[in-house]
Symmetry: C2
Subunit: 233 residues, 2 copies
DNA sequence: ACCTGAACACCGTTCAAGT
DNA sequence: ACCTGAACACCGTTCAAGT
């Protein structure tokens, strides 16, 4: 089918001033909105401009190129994920394993609720990871949280011993892989009914974590467990 | 920076006939080649046509649209992965757990060696999964192989009990996630040195599988293990 | 029966010109 | 200081015309 021409921006009844005022932030916000409402693969700069009623060249006064705008969007997305993780972990039990599960659940839920943001932050070719300090901070917070929980779980004999870095990477890969498989539309081929995709993903994750916990508990009944700090805030 | 114009096809010295002869297959082969040599996100129909020295419209005599050509490429890619899996499993030991590890390794290696093919077959939006019977067969063979190995490992008390489907999904998500994280360029943020990315991924996978094995062995020392067939050829 | 090449609507990006 | 709008090189797709 031929491309259907997109209608020009509504340009509402109120006459838009020549200068937008806060176009930079508006571009980021609109890009996030566009990402969230349509499950499309990627965000087009022209569409964002069109929605804001500005010309196709306007965004390039504020961002040198598409990648740069995407970096700002990725910054926003990474912040939002971080905030969700922090919030959900506040309400989670103190047991490291339970917290790891909660973290995984939060990640999966966020990915499924914001597939285009999720895809963007996952693809390093779409934005410039290193150019944003805050983006790095948000990412590091989530990664370090994972890593610390893994270490705590290992100390509490709830996860097998071994390099915590690699174990954390594996667990992240597990929840990332599960999320991505559903976002990419692979789950039907794994006989997962559309209705309970979310539950199936979480069930699969729990299966692994519970399986890992089994082994350590069996080998280490309780003696050489390090003294747990009663409650670390 | 402005787009640098691509030079027209070389059109070699030998005069190309008006009719190509076997353009359909040539398009698929060239698309695979393009995918393999450049690590780009997606394959452009125009570039494939350009390489073959045919006009931009020519491909659409053989494929109704881009998606349809991509389906043929995905078919080829899925076949190749299947063949690798089958070959590598022939040389693998008969122990289910060892075979599962070998399968994971094959998957990861293939993904890293053919990132664009890997990305293509992973994204259901880029091709039409259901329109190709052979594609479905190839995919099912790999999935069923995984599933059967999981069941065998569970029977041999090398994997924890629980729904084999979900466990197989989780293990696939693990190797898919690991592969995808490196293909998407995420590994640097997980402090994995460029040099040993492959080994780190495999190490991470093994950490999980070994961890899962620990739990079951502890609970089921050895008695009810089924008699192993001495050597199945 | 198959291929060309111009056309169209997209896209990112640039830049002289406008406010 | 910020935005427009035409321009350019891409892209997928169509289609009359050529062989």
């Amino acid at each position: 089918m031929p491309n259907t021409p997109l209608k020009a921006a509504p340009r509402s009844s109120v006459k838009r001033p020549y200068h937008h005022g806060n176009l930079r932030q508006a571009l980021i916000d609109t890009a996030v909105t566009v990402a969230d409402e349509s499950g499309k693969d990627l965000i087009s700069v022209r569409e964002v401009a069109r929605r804001l009623g500005v010309s196709s060249g306007a965004p390039f006064r504020h961002f040198p190129n598409r990648k740069s705008l995407m970096t700002a969007v990725a910054e926003e997305a990474t912040l939002r994920l971080r905030l969700r993780v922090e919030r959900d972990l506040r309400d989670a039990p103190e047991d490291p394993m339970a917290r790891l599960k909660a973290l995984g659940r939060t990640f999966i839920e966020w990915a499924l609720n914001h597939p285009t943001q999720f895809r963007l932050v996952s693809a390093r070719s779409l934005f410039d990871f290193n150019s944003s300090a805050s983006l790095n901070v948000h990412f590091d917070v989530v990664r370090d949280t994972t890593l610390n929980l893994v270490k705590q779980a290992q100390e509490a004999a709830q996860l097998p011993p071994g390099c915590a870095q690699h174990l954390a990477l594996a667990l992240r890969a597990l929840v990332y892989g599960l999320s991505r498989m559903q976002v990419d539309g692979q789950l039907p081929q794994w006989r997962v009914a559309d209705a309970q995709q979310r539950q199936s993903l979480i069930l699969s994750m729990d299966l692994i974590l519970d399986g890992l916990a089994l082994g350590t508990q069996a080998r280490q009944p309780s003696p050489r467990i390090k003294p747990l700090s009663p409650r670390q805030t």
